[in-house]
């Protein structure tokens, strides 16, 4: 087919007439990949796409794989820290009236546990897997807006450090991860602890939002030629829907935390009922974010399940379109459910049935997903390897969590279990079962792609069974103790209530579960250093990330693949069709149309730059300073403006010029 076909104006918006004259700015041409042999192609691309050497070079990297690796490691470290928090809390709770830690520390511990797990582990790690995998799966060479992506990592890591340094200084927030006012307001939370919460939330959400926008644009505009909407892998769909949910949900938490910091810092009265504000407004705003947040964490995990199952069941996913639509439906519905965190606040009684019905309704699209996965598995003899084991564990645990979720959706029933250990059990079943187990499965599944080495299968099985037993021992009894009347967030409980033995059992399970992660960490490190070499496509899976080498080169694909099927590698067994004609001396990649993925533009991707880091430092310093004085925003404006101008000002690279 000729290039004339590709550039025909057929599906372009009307503006495109003018762009025929678009090349008035003369394009300096350079060498193309057409006709280059593989070795020289590799030499060219490796030089063009490399991350510069040295420390400054490393800090300037804009390679999505480099950034994603940093993200993954950082998020895993935060998981370990959050897990340690949990273990300490469980030791305190292992018996009645234990004096190991007092309420002051305990309240910081559970707040930090929640904040770390939600904002520093769960959301970043699903986004990080997306940063790594989405560009590979859609067949492009880098994420859209690579510098923004680098910036978001620096923002994230400094936000996390900020929270944990505060904790080390005993300045960590102690008001719960959702920091309800008035408890976190100016009157009842003196000191800087609640300010740390508010600013750290606002700040780290900047990074999530930036990644979400980059992901959406990557999926919309950087898909390989031919990957029309119906050929996008389910994992990419999941990340796309998640990113949309982030875009519409995260601003809510930023608004909430900004209102809070204004109340605390400059004396506004937004949440103060004595001066015309309202305490419940905080909860409405917070949960408008907080409920979608659950799906932000869960949807990417379903995408991982949808990637692992076809590879092991050896058939394309049953009900592909149905799964995509359920992802979209879940994303849509998640915005209508926030009130079910607020049943106990005394909402209008008339609404109860509406709230119950709409909360339960989300079980339908989730049910569709589960049934389609099962139907896919029925078809064939699945090969049981560690990734699939974790998927089975996901079914086992997540279905329980989903069903207790149905219980919580019932307004009258919720009034008994709300804010008890039953809820603690429920959301750990949903979040660990629904998100962490698929993530662990995904780790075993994609680790060989990322490192080029296999993970130990034997340790993996040990890890799985230890995690299963530890998890269920720790969290299943929480349902019961919750029904027995144990509220959450208590640092101790009296002996006469008879919760001692069961709590001891829970604590033992929690330690076991923690140990399973120690084993996992060992397996990760050991396999990264000593693992058996993995091939390019060891699972014989069908999506594009397996078409390149393990680990992928800096430019991802020597030539951009052309997609003819939802599982392109299965459809093109002999030879993958590829596109040629891109320049190799600059970072050129293909921009395609949104729906049909017709190649449309050859665009240049940004080169490495130190400015995103400097901008993150400027923004971070401003936020940190703003805890102490609102004038920080004024003083911080200049460095932020300078770093942003430095970031965007062209430096004469060919990438900037065209």
């Amino acid at each position: 087919m000729s290039s004339a076909d590709i550039t025909s104006e057929r599906d372009l918006p009307p503006e495109s007439e003018a762009s025929a004259k678009g090349d008035v700015a003369p394009e300096r041409d350079g060498p193309r990949d057409t006709g280059l042999d593989d070795a020289s192609l590799h030499r060219w691309l490796a030089r063009t796409w490399r991350t510069p050497p040295g420390i400054i070079g490393a800090l300037s990297s804009v390679d999505h794989k480099v950034i994603a690796r940093r993200y993954l490691i950082t998020a895993f470290l935060f998981l370990c820290l959050g897990g340690l928090n949990a273990v300490v809390m469980r030791i305190q709770l292992s018996g009645p009236r234990r004096g190991l830690i007092g309420p002051d520390l305990y309240n910081q511990l559970f707040t930090m546990h929640g904040v770390t797990m939600m904002f520093l582990f769960a959301v970043p790690i699903v986004q990080a897997t997306g940063i790594y995998l989405v560009p590979l799966m859609v067949g492009t060479r880098n994420i859209a807006f690579p510098r923004l992506n680098a910036f978001s990592y620096w923002v994230y890591v400094s936000g996390g450090l900020f929270a944990w340094v505060s904790f080390a200084l005993s300045m960590a927030p102690d008001v719960g991860w959702f920091a309800y006012v008035p408890l976190s307001g100016p009157e009842y939370a003196p000191g800087k602890r609640a300010d740390v919460w508010a600013q750290m939330i606002t700040y780290t959400e900047v990074s999530s939002l930036a990644v979400a926008v980059a992901t959406i644009v990557t999926v919309f505009k950087h898909r390989a030629p031919g990957m029309s909407l119906d050929k996008i892998p389910l994992y990419v769909w999941a990340l796309l829907v998640t990113s949309f949910v982030v875009v519409f949900a995260m601003p809510a938490v930023m608004v909430t935390s900004t209102f809070l910091i204004l109340d605390r810092l400059v004396g506004t009265h937004i949440f103060n009922p004595a001066e015309g504000g309202d305490a419940l407004l905080f909860q409405h705003l917070f949960w408008f974010f907080g409920h979608p947040e659950v799906y932000i964490i869960f949807l990417p995990a379903t995408g991982m399940v949808s990637a692992i199952i076809p590879a092991f069941a050896r058939r394309p996913m049953f009900g592909h379109l149905g799964l995509v639509l359920s992802l979209i439906a879940v994303g849509f519905l998640s915005f209508g459910l926030w009130v079910h965190h607020m049943f106990a606040t005394g909402l209008p009684k008339l609404g109860a049935s509406f709230f119950t019905a709409s909360s339960m309704m989300i079980a339908i699209p989730n049910g569709v997903q589960i049934f389609c996965w099962l139907a896919t598995l029925w078809d064939s003899r699945p090969v049981i390897r560690t990734p699939l084991l974790f998927v089975f564990g996901f079914f086992f645990i997540f279905v329980i969590g989903g069903l207790t979720g149905v219980m919580l959706a019932s307004v009258p029933l919720d009034l008994q279990v709300h804010d008890t250990y039953f809820v603690v059990a429920h959301f750990h079943y949903v979040l660990i079962g629904g998100s962490v187990f698929p993530l662990l499965g995904a780790a075993y599944f994609w680790f060989p792609k990322i490192t080029g080495r296999m993970m130990s299968e034997r340790l993996g099985r040990w890890h799985f069974w230890l995690a299963m037993v530890g998890f269920n021992a720790a969290f299943f009894p929480m349902h019961i103790v919750g029904l027995w009347g144990m509220p959450r967030r208590v640092y101790t409980y009296p002996a006469e209530l008879g919760w001692g033995n069961i709590n001891f059992f829970i604590s033992a399970g929690a330690v076991l579960f923690f140990l399973s992660f120690v084993l996992f960490a060992f397996n990760l490190v050991h396999s990264a250093l000593r693992g058996a070499p993995a091939g390019d496509n060891l699972w014989d899976a069908g999506t594009l990330e397996w078409a390149t080498s393990s680990p992928p080169p800096s430019y991802n694909f020597a030539r951009i693949p052309i997609v003819t099927n939802v599982e392109p590698l299965w459809a093109e067994r002999e030879a993958l069709p590829v596109a040629t004609g891109l320049r190799v001396d600059v970072r050129e990649l293909v921009v395609s149309t949104v729906a049909e993925a017709h190649p449309d533009i050859r665009e240049k991707s940004a080169t490495p730059s130190i400015w995103p880091l400097l901008a993150a430092i400027a923004v971070g310093g401003t936020f940190l300073y703003s805890i102490f004085t609102p004038w920080a925003i004024v003083w911080g404006a200049a460095p932020i403006a300078i770093t942003l101008i430095g970031w965007f000002w062209p430096k004469g690279d060919p990438e900037d010029e065209e």
């Binding site: 909407l229 119906d230 409405h284 639509l325 209508g336 729906a595």
Partner: protein
């Protein structure tokens, strides 16, 4: 007969039967009857003209009948009279107009049938009229998905300003205008968003506009639900008819606007997303982006 008297409440709400009667006043029944008549006439002419595409025609006719039925149900049945004094009934009526009748009527693509009902000369006349430059430009602007969504949103929010809403309750003309603008902008909104033959489909943006509409109408519903004060005291005078206190009446109205109506927008968005996805592949196939 003065304009005001013509649209006066008593006519608007039927003679007598203040509790829950049928609304049989001319200003409402006449246009509805005319609409049905014209459609029937045009459709039958059109059917006689060409025999092709029967199942498609039948589907359209059924959709139109359903839409017309809902419209009539909302405007003529007791729900309309009740809406005068029970706010939640009023809300149900509005939602039937905006979120049920309007999409059904638009999906029926009644344009051709309605046109064919006109005598041949007039048909050409309207053809000329719609080709007028200014009108056409205005129409093109209004029928863009974004402007249609914004216009519909403005209509919804503006009429819920307490002063305007209460004025509409008291003055027949305004009430008529209120319903007309709800229905009119809703028709425009759905017309701009729903797919139809003969234009480039913009499913993706339609999905986002439906999502946006569900969010902003949801916000209005939530405000009605959570507000402890009565927005339109005059509209809740008969809340007891439904066994509700006035404030509960308002809460129910808010819930109707938020949950069922939101689900209709969501369902429509999902349907369009499904079409978008499945069509992207076939479109790609017809353009034969095949390797080799």
């Amino acid at each position: 007969m003065s304009l005001e008297a013509f649209f006066s409440t008593s006519i608007c709400y039927g003679a007598g039967a203040p509790e829950a009667g049928w609304t049989l006043a001319f200003p409402i029944t006449l246009p509805l009857a005319m609409l049905a008549l014209i459609y029937a006439l045009g459709a039958s002419r059109l059917w006689r003209r060409s025999g092709r595409g029967r199942p498609e025609r039948l589907r359209q006719a059924l959709l139109f009948a359903a839409g017309w039925g809902v419209l009539t149900g909302a405007l003529v049945s007791p729900i309309h009279a009740l809406g005068e004094r029970v706010f939640s009934a009023h809300m149900i009526e509005h939602e039937l107009l905006m979120a049920v009748a309007a999409p059904l009527l638009v999906a029926a693509c009644p344009g051709a049938a309605l046109m064919w009902a006109l005598p041949a000369t007039l048909r050409r006349g309207t053809g000329k009229l719609t080709h007028g430059n200014v009108l056409q430009a205005l129409w093109a602007l209004a029928a863009r998905p974004l402007s249609a969504t914004v216009l519909h949103g403005i209509a919804i929010w503006t009429w819920h300003v307490p002063a305007l809403f209460e004025a509409a309750l008291q003055q027949g003309v305004l009430h008529y205008a209120q319903h007309a603008s709800f229905l009119g902008t809703a028709l425009l909104f759905w017309w701009a968003l729903l797919p139809r033959s003969g234009r480039r489909q913009t499913y993706g943006s339609s999905v986002m506009h439906l999502f946006f509409t569900s969010l902003h109408t949801g916000l209005l519903g939530v405000l009605l639900l959570l507000s402890p004060k009565l927005w339109y005291p005059a509209n809740a005078s008969g809340a007891a008819l439904w066994g509700l206190s006035p404030i509960e009446d308002q809460q129910l109205a808010g819930l109707v606007m938020w949950v069922p109506a939101g689900l209709i927008y969501g369902g429509a968005a999902l349907l369009l997303a499904g079409l978008w996805i499945s069509n992207s592949g076939t479109r790609e196939a017809t353009h034969a982006l095949r390797p080799g």
